[in-house]
């Protein structure tokens, strides 16, 4: 899924609160919008000043064109992201004004792909993590041959959506899925909406109550949720894609900053001298001793007692969507 990456100015068409601490940005940026796929993301430049310094990654929450049209329409130049205010950058983003221009880089990474031979999809999103699943639901729906205009779906929908969150105000995306004629299942930890409990409980219940031979899972949300989803996928032996978040600098595979620990058959080939070996030959250190905690705790001597072999993948380029079985969950 090799894509062209563009750096472009985008105009803010609409900036809207969509939840207690969540917002939606609708941007006009034909260069990037025309290439965007569900699960891919952009890096957004917060400020023209040098602080905050880094761009911030956000997934597409809506992707145009939904169909494979020949001619670009006005709509096709538009993309959307949803963001939750969690820190300094996202706080500053709330001040962005409609009409303003911002710099974005994208589309980045690999999006979701249709799991081979699976007719049913369960999409499970926690909090703001539901955002990238909206365009994926839309694409799946079309991919599965359903007409966009057809209404009145029965419960046996080919796409099931599960939305979880702490409380009612943290449940996002319900309307968007309803517009796609999908009625999401909802769970909240405090029981203020839908079924009380975790989204993953709902997932297990769904899997238990239906034949799941042909199901694929697609998940996005907090790490503990994703780890749990991965575990459930293993248990039910289902293909499962997860969209992972990692701290990023470049967003395009150049800095190696967004490391994600993944299984690697090959990884025994990657060797590194043990940190305390061959002392007389060793010249380097950082400016102080006693800090060999990070790197040296990895074992580089092939060691069968310590499965699995691993390497670090770049979330921005090899992900952010991974097959859940690839990931080493810790």
């Amino acid at each position: 899924m090799k894509t062209k990456i563009k750096e472009a100015k985008a105009q803010i068409i609409r900036h809207q609160r969509i939840g207690a601490d969540s917002f939606r940005l609708r941007l006009r940026c034909p260069e990037i919008a025309r290439l965007a796929q569900p699960g891919q993301f952009i890096m957004l430049r917060i400020s023209e000043q040098s602080d905050p310094f880094l761009r911030r990654p956000f997934s597409f929450s809506r992707v145009f064109p939904p169909g494979e049209k020949k001619k670009m329409t006005e709509e096709d130049g538009i993309l959307e992201i949803c963001y939750k205010v969690v820190g300094r950058g996202t706080s500053l983003m709330t001040r962005l004004k409609e009409g303003q221009q911002i710099h974005i880089l994208g589309p980045l990474g690999n999006g979701f792909w249709a799991a081979e031979g699976r007719k049913q999809a369960i999409l499970i999103g926690g909090g703001i993590g539901i955002a990238p699943l909206i365009p994926w639901a839309e694409k799946l729906r079309r991919g599965l041959g359903r007409n966009r205009a057809s209404r009145n779906l029965n419960e046996q929908s080919a796409v099931i959506v599960i939305i979880g969150g702490e409380s009612r105000e943290k449940i996002l995306g319900v309307k968007e899925f309803q517009k796609l004629d999908m009625e999401p299942l909802i769970s909240t930890e405090d029981g203020s909406l839908g079924i009380p409990g975790m989204a993953t409980d709902l997932l297990e219940r769904e899997l238990m109550t239906r034949g799941h031979a042909s199901i694929a899972l697609y998940a996005c949300g907090p790490m503990p949720m994703l780890a749990k989803v991965a575990q459930i996928a293993d248990q039910f032996d289902l293909p499962c894609q997860v969209l992972l978040e990692a701290r990023m600098a470049c967003g395009m595979g150049a800095c190696l900053g967004c490391a994600v620990k993944v299984r690697e058959e090959d990884s025994l080939k990657i060797s590194q001298p043990p940190a305390d070996a061959a002392e007389e030959k060793i010249l380097f250190t950082s400016a102080f001793a006693g800090d060999a905690i990070g790197a040296s705790s990895e074992s580089f001597v092939p060691d069968v007692s310590q499965p699995p072999a691993f390497r670090y993948a770049r979330a921005c380029k090899e992900g952010p969507v991974f097959e859940s079985r690839e990931i080493i969950w810790e």
């Binding site: 602080d51 310094f53 880094l54 470049c250 595979g253 190696l256 990657i270 010249l283 380097f284 380029k317």
Partner: protein
């Protein structure tokens, strides 16, 4: 782009780092520009003065456990841990693309021992088309034992001399800013046979996650880069310019043409652009254009005549 493609139109941007000739003085810094291919779809690589590749070791390295990045005021910390594909794979898989970049490509190298440095230099000398080596003696993420290397003039001299004997390639030594006296380190590199010095690598820094009360970086400490460190880099370049006779390549926090011009005026013959690529992949190109415009506006015939042009007044005291 125009200026970079047609240097004839205005003041010449060409510079010479000893025997190595660059179209312009703006080089992409090691570790921030991957192996070139990542940025190739966004900018014409041939417009750059040069590219320095990600630090290369004999064997592949996995790097440090995540998180590897943290943002800091006007800067960032990284603790990549010198992850790289290793010499063999570099030559097989990365070099064919870089060779066609049609701009000088400098290979950044590091080893765990002096022998490894020499071995790398020797084996890269056989690879056709490499413009030169940048020797990283300063990565703060590399840890392997007792002595402090990058801050000891004697060991610096030793490793540089050994590499010098192993290769006739253009040899640039990259200095660590985490030292008491950068000048004596630069002098040691010069005496060891370096064709140029580049500085600064990152300052060692740290950040803490207040919610978890753990370090933000998997490696605890990391390297600070970005605008925050510009004053330190500029000071060190100026300082080294007073003491060595080989060309200096300046870096640290360069984001705009103005930043680059400060370094050139302080005494750098060329500059490297690092973290700026993360916030603007076109940073290098914009800097080239900006330098061109400054030269024009200030009637400099070429960039070389700007290098080291800092005026120091005997008494700079003024009422305001």
């Amino acid at each position: 782009m125009k200026s970079a493609d047609h240097p004839k139109e205005g003041p010449s941007l060409a510079v010479e780092l000893g025997a190595l000739k660059l179209r312009n003085p703006v080089i992409a810094a090691s570790g921030t520009f991957g192996y070139g291919e990542e940025y190739a779809s966004l900018i014409p690589l041939r417009s750059l003065g040069g590219i320095v590749t990600k630090g290369l070791s004999l064997e592949p390295r996995r790097g440090n456990p995540p998180p590897r990045l943290a943002e800091t005021p006007s800067g960032m910390l990284n603790a990549i841990g010198l992850e790289n594909v290793g010499l063999e794979k570099f030559i097989l898989e990365k070099w064919p693309f870089l060779r066609k970049a049609s701009c000088p490509v400098i290979v950044n190298i590091f080893g765990n021992t002096i022998e490894e440095y020499a071995e790398l230099a020797r084996r890269l000398a056989d690879v056709e088309g490499i413009a030169g080596l940048e020797v990283n003696i300063s990565c703060p993420n590399l840890k392997a034992g007792g002595a402090i290397f990058a801050s000891e003039p004697r060991t610096v001299h030793k490793v540089v001399a050994k590499i010098r004997r192993a290769t006739s390639s253009f040899l640039m030594v990259k200095l660590s800013p985490n030292v008491s006296d950068i000048s004596e380190i630069a002098q040691a590199a010069e005496a060891g046979g370096a064709d140029a010095v580049s500085l600064i690598n990152t300052l060692i820094g740290m950040a803490i996650d207040l919610k978890k009360r753990t370090p933000l970086l998997g490696n605890i400490t990391g390297g600070l880069s970005g605008p925050a460190i510009k004053p330190v880099g500029l000071r060190m370049v100026w300082q080294v310019a007073q003491t060595v006779h080989i060309p200096i390549v300046g870096m640290g926090g360069i984001v705009t043409a103005e930043d680059a011009l400060e370094y050139l005026i302080a005494g750098a013959t060329a500059v490297q652009v690092g973290s700026a690529h993360f916030i603007d992949p076109r940073a290098g190109l914009k800097i080239i254009d900006g330098i061109q415009r400054y030269l024009q506006a200030n009637n400099f015939p070429d960039v070389a005549s700007l290098v080291g042009s800092l005026k120091i007044k005997k008494d700079t005291g003024q009422p305001t």
